[in-house]
């Protein structure tokens, strides 16, 4: 399973901003904004249900105060 975590839109992301500025220095045009987050790959067996996966994301992998997340199952 994959969990992608990103800072919430309203939270200042100075790291993403620094990456965006570096792109400008490289001459890359057309990138308006960068947000930097985390990507988790978890190997879980089939006994782990969706609710448990969501719980893992919401209570440990992401901090709901400052971050949003997406849980995806991949085979």
């Amino acid at each position: 399973m994959i969990v992608d975590v990103l800072p919430k839109a309203e939270i200042l992301d100075p790291q993403g901003q620094a990456v965006a500025r570096a792109m400008g220095r490289l001459g890359v045009a057309g990138v308006a904004d960068v947000r930097q987050g985390k990507h988790f790959e978890l190997e879980v067996d089939d006994t782990v249900g969706d609710a448990e996966l969501e719980n893992i994301a919401a209570t440990l992998l992401a901090n709901p105060v400052i971050e949003e997340w997406v849980v995806r199952r991949v085979s």
Binding site: I11, L12, P14, Q15, A18, L60, N63, V65, I66
Partner: protein
């Protein structure tokens, strides 16, 4: 009169436990070592969660430490009214553990800030009762993820309930919302702040002795209660 027994937790990566224990002793308390892997508070009357880089700041600053064995009883005791102080990484841990609202994120400008700052004491709590509300103190700040954030409703509630305990007397060097340096629980027993009072208890090794007031406040409160 028995002295107040104040626990100081050591996690892997904690840096400031020795200074915190020293501050407890300077204030007349007995410092008791607590270990991250023991779900045991050893009968202490209060707990200091010191600064550093617990678990290497893996995942998020304070995130792993907040879920370590010792924090179970700390959260339980803190909710029941035991005085708990989180300093710097300790503040991050208390927020991650849900004892205090909000979160600490990367400093605005990405720069690690290491210098003395002025703080205004804005609330009387278990850890600030010995100060006068409105008093300015000077203590060191040394953190890269010290920018306090919370949603507007939480910030408004903290202000309305008198739970902003410390505010920077200058524009927050880390970009903290509303220049908040430290907050408390609703009952004023659990306090977290980014700057380091334990480094300002002796003129020989710090900018002054302003920080000692947090430790003498809690020791006085505990010995009066006993």
């Amino acid at each position: 009169m028995t002295g107040a027994r104040i626990g100081v937790i050591t996690f892997p990566g904690t840096l400031d436990d020795v200074d915190a224990a020293r501050a407890v002793r300077y204030a007349g308390g007995e410092a008791v070592e607590l270990w991250h892997d023991d779900a045991d508070l050893r009968g202490v009357d209060a707990v200091v969660v010191p600064g550093g880089f617990s678990y290497g700041d893996y995942l998020r600053a304070g995130a792993i430490a907040a879920r370590s064995p010792v924090m179970g009883p700390v959260v339980e005791a803190g909710r029941a009214g035991m005085p708990v102080l989180g300093i710097c990484n300790g503040f991050q841990i208390l927020c991650e553990a849900g004892l205090l609202p909000g979160a600490l994120v990367r400093n605005q400008g990405l720069r690690f800030v290491c210098r003395e700052v002025g703080l205004r004491v804005e609330a009387a709590t278990a850890w600030t009762a010995g100060f006068t509300v409105g008093q300015d103190i000077r203590v060191p700040l040394k953190s890269g993820e010290g920018r306090y954030v919370a949603d507007t409703a939480t910030l408004d509630a903290l202000e309305a309930e008198g739970r902003v305990v410390f505010r920077y007397t200058e524009p927050a060097p880390n970009g903290a919302l509303r220049d908040i340096a430290g907050i408390s629980s609703a009952d004023g027993r659990v306090v977290g702040l980014m700057p380091h009072p334990e480094h300002a208890i002796d003129a020989l090794t710090g900018p002054g002795t302003d920080g000692l007031g947090l430790f003498t406040s809690v020791v006085a409160g505990l010995t009066t209660a006993a």
